[in-house]
C-alpha cells in the first residue's frame, strides 16, 4: 500500500505491506537509528515520535502513519540532550539510545523540571542493559535544568 507522510521533515512516499510495522518502514527508508529489541512493545528501542507523541515503532503499522509527522532519532532536534548523553557517557553499546533519546525528549518538552524519580519513571519503558541508567538520568536532569534555568 502507498503511504504518504512526513519523515524527519521531508515529504515521503513509501510502499508498505499492510503487515509492515512503522519501525520496519522507517528502517527500510534508511533511518536505521530506530532499532528492534523485542518487537512486542516492551523494550522501547524502536521508540519514535508520531505527531509529537513517543510511540513504539514496532506496535504501529506503517499504514497508520498516513498523513502523520514522523520523527526518528536522526531527525530529533535536541542537540543539548544528545551532547549531554555523550558528556555523561549515558550510553554504552548505543542500541537503546535512540529510543531512550526519543522518550527523554518527550519528557523534556513537558514544560517543567522533573525530579530524578519522575525521570526514572518516564524512562522505565526503555530498557538499557549497559549503563545502569544513572548517567541517563543525570543527562536528562541536567538538560531539564538548563532549559528552564533551574539550579541543579
Amino acid at each position: 500500500m502507498r503511504v504518504t507522510f512526513r519523515l524527519n521533515g521531508e515529504a515521503t512516499v513509501i510502499e508498505a505491506e499492510p503487515r509492515q510495522s512503522l519501525a520496519d518502514a522507517v528502517r527500510a527508508a534508511g533511518f536505521t537509528g530506530t532499532h528492534h529489541g523485542c518487537e512486542h512493545g516492551v523494550c522501547g528501542a524502536c521508540t519514535l515520535r508520531v505527531d509529537g507523541v513517543a510511540v513504539r515503532g514496532c506496535l504501529m503499522l506503517a499504514v497508520q502513519a498516513e498523513g502523520a509527522e514522523v520523527v526518528t532519532v536522526e531527525g530529533l532536534d535536541a542537540p543539548d540532550l544528545k551532547a549531554a548523553f555523550v558528556r555523561h557517557n549515558a550510553l554504552q553499546c548505543g542500541f537503546c539510545t535512540p529510543g531512550m533519546l526519543m522518550t527523554a525528549a518527550e519528557l523534556l518538552e513537558s514544560g517543567h523540571v522533573p525530579d530524578r524519580a519522575e525521570i526514572r519513571d518516564h524512562l522505565s519503558g526503555s530498557y538499557c542493559r549497559c549503563t545502569g541508567y544513572q548517567a541517563i538520568v543525570d543527562s536528562v536532569e541536567e538538560v531539564a535544568q538548563a532549559r528552564h534555568g533551574a539550579k541543579p
Binding site: 503487515r19 536505521t32 553499546c93
Partner: protein
C-alpha cells in the same frame, strides 16, 4: 597533560546518539536473503520425518535446509577443554540431526527474500517428532534410572571436579567451633542483549572468500571456528564486528544458526542475514548461572574462619558449548569461594550435568556472583550466629593488603589486592555506623530495612592458562598497531573490540600519553580481522589490561622509531629528544625541533633526505599476554541497603555503594559507568531475572514481558569509589573492570534482604528473590 586518567567522552558515542550506528542489522547488501529457523517444539525428541515441499514452494523462498543438508557443509563441534580432565560432550551439529535436545534447537533453515516471507514459509514446514522423556532437573538427571540424554556417554554427567585441602573434617567436628550451613539456589539468567544476535554472511565465489559481519566480541575466534567447520582456509574468512548492541559474554559462543547462515551464503552465493528475534534469543542465546550449592563454614571461637565445604551442581543443557565449554562457570564458582579471606581448609565438589534445556555457558562475571553470594552469605550467617558485626567479622578474616602474593586453597595465586582498604573505604562511603543506626530505628517502627556487605574478587586479564592449554582457539594475547600517516596523525588498530565499554577511547588515551598527543587527535580502528592484529577480542575484562598493554608497548616502539629518525635528521642522539604536542622537542629545553608532520612528510615523500641506511618506518606492532600469573585479579567491596515490604514481598533498593580496585584507572567515567551497568545486571539476577521452564522442558519466559530485567524506575543511584593498586604484571597496571559490578551486586542485595528478614526469623537463599519467594521465606504463602 597526561591522557591516562582523563574522563574523556567516547568519540563513537557522538555517532550513536545521532542514530548513525553501524549495527549488523543496518546492513543491507544487494541481493541479501534472510534466514529463519524452525526450532524444536520439544525439549527432547526423535525426528521421525519432515515435509519441506510446501515451504520450498512458498513465495520468496530460495532454499530450505535440514540438519542432514547442513551436515554436508558443516562439521560438528565438541565443546570440551582437554585440561579439564574427564569432561565429556558429544559432537554438536549446526542443525539438529535425528534428535532434538532442547526446545528451541534449530531444525530447519528457510532462506527467503525477506524475513516475513521466510517466516511465512516456516509455518508450512511439517516435522514429525517422537517425544522422548525430558531431563530437566539437574539432580534428577544424575539418578541411576534417569533417561540418558546421550546414550553413548552412559550418564548425564559432563564433568566432575573435587578439591580437598587442609583439615576440613577437623574444623567441622570440633564442638567449640561455630558451624553454619545453607543451601543456595541460583536461577538461570541470560544476557538479554538489547540487540539480539545477528550475522550477515557473504561469499565471494571468485575468490573463495567468506566475509561475515557479526554482532560479536571475538572476531578472530569466529574466523577460526568458521574456517574449521566450514572447511575454508582461515585466510579466506574475514570477520567484521563494528557496532555491537550489547554482548556481556553472550556473543562469544558458537551458535549453530549463525554457522548455518554462513553455510547458506556459500551455497547460494548471496549475502544471507540471520537476525534472531527476541523469542529466539531467549530460546537460543546461552543461559547461565543455573546452580544449586550446599555450603557450610566453620569458624573458631575467636572469629577466625577455619574451613569451607561446598557442593555445587549445575545444569548446562544438552551440550557443553563450543569452544569455551560450559564447565568453566562451575569451575570458577568453586575456585573463587572464599577468595577474599584467609582460609586454611577447603573442600569442594562440582558436578556439571546435561539436561534438555537451552545450553548454558559464559555470561558476564562467569561464576563470580554465585561464589560471592555463597561465601558472603556464610559470613553473614557466622556473624549472626555469634552476635558479631558482619563488617568486623570480615575485617578479622580478610587477607591483609600487605600479604600478597597469596595462594588460595584452590591454588589461585592472588597478587596486588586491597580487600582491607576497600572495606574501610566502603564503610566511610556508606556511613556504615549511621546507616546501622538508621536501619535499627526504622525497624523499631516496623519498617524492615537491611544492609548487605560483600567483599569480592574478580578474574580478569586471563593468560593462556585459561583456554589455550585446553585446546580452544581462543587467543590470550592481544595485538596493537600504531602508525603515523603522512600528515603526522596517529592511527591505531587493535584486536580488542568495542562494544560500548570505551575500548577505542582508552586505547587512544594510552597511545596519546606515550606519543605526547591529545587522545582526541588519534584515530582508532577495531573489529576487522582483515585489518587488525590477531587477538582475543573482548571477554573476561581484558581490554584495558591486555589490549591496552599491547597498545602501550606498540606506542613506545613507535616513539623510539620517531625519535631515532628525528635524531638522524636533526643530528642529535634520540635521547636528547622527546615528543609533545604533535612535535619532536628538545628534551631538556622543550623547544620544538620539528613537527610529526614534517618528519612524516620527509619519510613518505622525501626519503632522499634521510641518512642512508635509516629505516623509513613509522609503524610499530606489539602483542601482549599475561605471563607468570594465570589471571590478574581485581577486587572490591559493595554494600546494598534495601527495604522489604513483608506484606507484599517487594524489595525496594534504597542505596548501593561500590569500592573497586581495578588497578590503574585509564578513564574514570568509563570505568564507573561500566561498574554501574554491571551492578544493575547483578541486581537483575538478585531480584528479577530468571529463565523458567516447565517440567517437560518448555521455556516459560520467552518474551521480555515474562523475563524481567531492571528498569530505570527500580534502580537506585549507585555510588562508586576506588582504591588503586596497579597490577605488577604490566607497565600500565590496569586490571579489568567489566565483571566488577556484576560479581558482587547480587550477593550484596541477598545479604541486605536477609538482614531485613533476620529479626523476623526468616531467610531466603534463592535467586531471584521474587516477592513470592520472600513471602514463602516468611511462611506467608505455602
Amino acid at each position: 597533560m597526561t591522557q591516562i586518567g582523563r574522563a574523556l567522552p567516547r568519540p563513537n558515542a557522538r555517532r550513536l546518539v545521532e542514530g548513525a550506528g553501524r549495527f549488523v542489522g543496518d546492513l543491507t547488501p544487494p541481493r541479501m536473503l534472510h534466514a529463519v529457523f524452525v526450532r524444536s517444539p520439544y525439549a527432547h525428541a526423535v525426528i521421525t520425518g519432515m515435509d519441506l515441499d510446501a515451504a520450498r514452494a512458498a513465495p520468496g523462498v530460495v532454499a530450505v535446509y535440514d540438519g542432514a543438508d547442513m551436515a554436508t557443509q558443516i562439521t560438528p563441534w565438541v565443546g570440551v577443554l582437554t585440561h579439564m580432565v574427564g569432561m565429556r560432550s558429544p559432537p554438536q551439529p549446526a542443525l539438529a540431526v535425528g534428535h532434538t535436545h532442547w526446545q528451541g534447537e534449530p531444525v530447519v533453515m528457510i532462506v527467503a527474500s525477506s524475513r516475513a516471507l521466510a517466516e511465512d514459509a516456516a509455518e508450512l514446514v511439517t516435522v514429525d517428532y517422537d517425544p522422548l522423556p525430558p531431563v530437566t532437573d539437574m539432580e534428577a538427571a544424575l539418578a541411576p534410572d534417569a533417561p540418558v540424554i546421550h546414550p553413548d556417554l552412559g550418564s548425564n554427567l559432563c564433568w566432575e571436579k573435587r578439591i580437598d585441602v587442609g583439615a576440613v573434617d577437623v574444623a567441622f567436628a570440633d564442638p567449640a567451633n561455630t558451624v553454619v550451613e545453607r543451601r543456595f539456589v541460583f536461577g538461570r539468567h541470560t544476557g538479554v542483549t538489547l540487540e539480539p544476535r545477528v550475522i550477515t554472511a557473504d561469499y565471494d565465489a571468485a575468490q573463495d572468500q567468506l566475509t561475515v559481519n557479526y554482532s560479536g566480541q571475538v572476531p578472530h575466534m569466529m574466523q577460526e571456528v568458521l574456517a574449521t567447520h566450514l572447511g575454508l582456509p582461515q585466510s579466506q574468512v574475514r570477520i567484521v564486528a563494528q557496532d555491537v548492541g550489547g554482548s556481556f559474554g553472550i556473543k562469544i559462543h558458537t551458535y549453530g544458526d549463525e554457522v548455518a547462515a554462513c553455510a547458506a551464503a556459500r551455497l547460494l552465493r548471496r549475502p544471507v542475514q540471520f537476525a534472531a528475534d527476541r523469542y529466539e534469543s531467549f530460546q537460543s542465546d546461552i543461559h547461565a548461572r543455573d546452580h544449586r550449592v550446599t555450603a557450610r563454614a566453620a569458624m573458631a571461637p575467636d572469629g577466625r574462619l577455619l574451613a569451607v565445604d561446598v557442593d555445587d551442581i549445575t545444569g548446562i543443557g544438552p551440550y557443553s558449548v563450543y569452544p569455551r565449554s560450559s564447565a568453566i562457570e562451575g569451575n570458577q564458582v568453586i575456585n573463587l569461594i572464599g577468595a577474599p579471606y584467609t582460609l586454611p581448609a577447603y573442600r569442594a565438589r562440582l558436578r556439571v550435568v546435561f539436561q534438555t534445556k537451552v545450553p548454558t555457558c559464559q555470561y558476564r562475571a562467569v561464576g563470580h556472583p554465585i561464589a560471592m553470594a555463597v561465601m558472603e552469605g556464610l559470613m553473614d550467617d557466622l556473624a549472626a550466629a555469634t552476635g558479631r558485626d558482619p563488617v568486623v567479622l570480615r575485617e578479622m578474616n580478610l587477607i591483609p593488603d600487605d600479604a600478597y602474593p597469596v595462594r588460595s586453597p584452590q591454588g589461585m595465586l592472588y597478587a596486588d589486592l586491597s580487600h582491607q582498604a576497600c572495606l574501610t573505604r566502603l564503610k566511610e562511603l556508606m556511613g556504615y555506623d549511621a546507616l546501622c543506626a538508621e536501619r535499627d530505628a526504622m525497624r523499631a517502627r516496623g519498617v524492615h530495612r537491611g544492609i548487605g556487605i560483600v567483599s569480592m574478587v574478580e578474574i580478569t586479564n586471563p593468560s593462556p592458562m585459561f583456554y589455550g592449554v585446553g585446546g580452544a582457539p581462543v587467543a590470550a594475547q592481544d595485538g596493537a598497531v600504531v602508525r603515523l600517516d603522512a600528515s603526522g596523525a596517529v592511527h591505531l588498530s587493535s584486536s580488542v573490540t568495542e562494544q560500548g565499554q570505551g575500548t577505542e577511547t582508552i586505547l587512544a588515551q594510552i597511545a596519546a600519553d606515550v606519543l605526547g598527543l591529545r587522545a582526541e587527535d588519534i584515530r582508532v580502528q577495531t573489529g576487522d580481522t582483515a585489518h587488525m592484529p590477531y587477538g582475543g577480542g573482548t571477554w573476561a575484562s581484558r581490554g584495558a589490561g591486555i589490549g591496552g598493554e599491547a597498545m602501550r608497548a606498540a606506542s613506545v616502539a613507535l616513539r623510539a622509531q620517531v625519535l631515532e629518525l628525528a635524531g638522524a635528521v636533526l643530528q642529535c642522539p634520540p635521547s636528547a629528544l622527546a615528543l609533545a604536542g604533535g612535535a619532536i622537542i628538545d628534551a631538556a629545553s622543550s623547544t620544538e625541533r620539528m613537527t610529526l608532520r614534517e618528519l612524516a612528510q620527509m619519510v613518505y615523500f622525501r626519503g632522499n633526505e634521510l641518512p642512508a641506511g635509516q629505516a623509513a618506518e613509522l609503524i610499530a606492532s606489539r602483542h601482549f599476554r599475561v605471563e607468570g600469573m594465570p589471571f590478574v585479579f581485581s577486587n572490591g567491596a559493595m554494600a546494598s541497603y534495601v527495604e522489604v515490604d513483608v506484606e507484599t514481598g517487594l524489595v525496594t533498593l534504597l542505596n548501593h555503594w561500590v569500592v573497586e580496585d581495578v588497578g590503574t584507572i585509564l578513564n574514570p567515567k568509563l570505568v564507573d559507568e561500566q561498574i554501574r551497568g554491571g551492578v544493575v545486571q547483578g541486581i537483575g539476577g538478585a531480584l528479577f531475572e530468571e529463565c523458567l521452564f516447565s517440567d517437560d522442558g518448555q521455556l516459560l519466559t520467552a518474551t521480555m514481558a515474562d523475563y524481567l530485567v531492571p528498569m530505570a524506575g527500580e534502580m537506585p543511584d549507585i555510588e562508586i569509589a576506588h582504591v588503586v593498586t596497579p597490577t605488577s604484571t604490566s607497565a600500565l597496571g590496569a586490571k579489568g573492570a567489566g565483571e566488577a559490578g556484576t560479581s558482587g551486586a547480587s550477593g550484596a542485595v541477598m545479604n541486605a534482604v536477609n538482614d531485613a528478614l533476620r529479626p523476623l526469623g526468616a531467610q531466603i537463599s534463592q535467586m531471584p528473590m521474587t516477592p513470592e519467594r520472600i513471602l514463602r521465606s516468611l511462611g506467608l504463602v505455602p
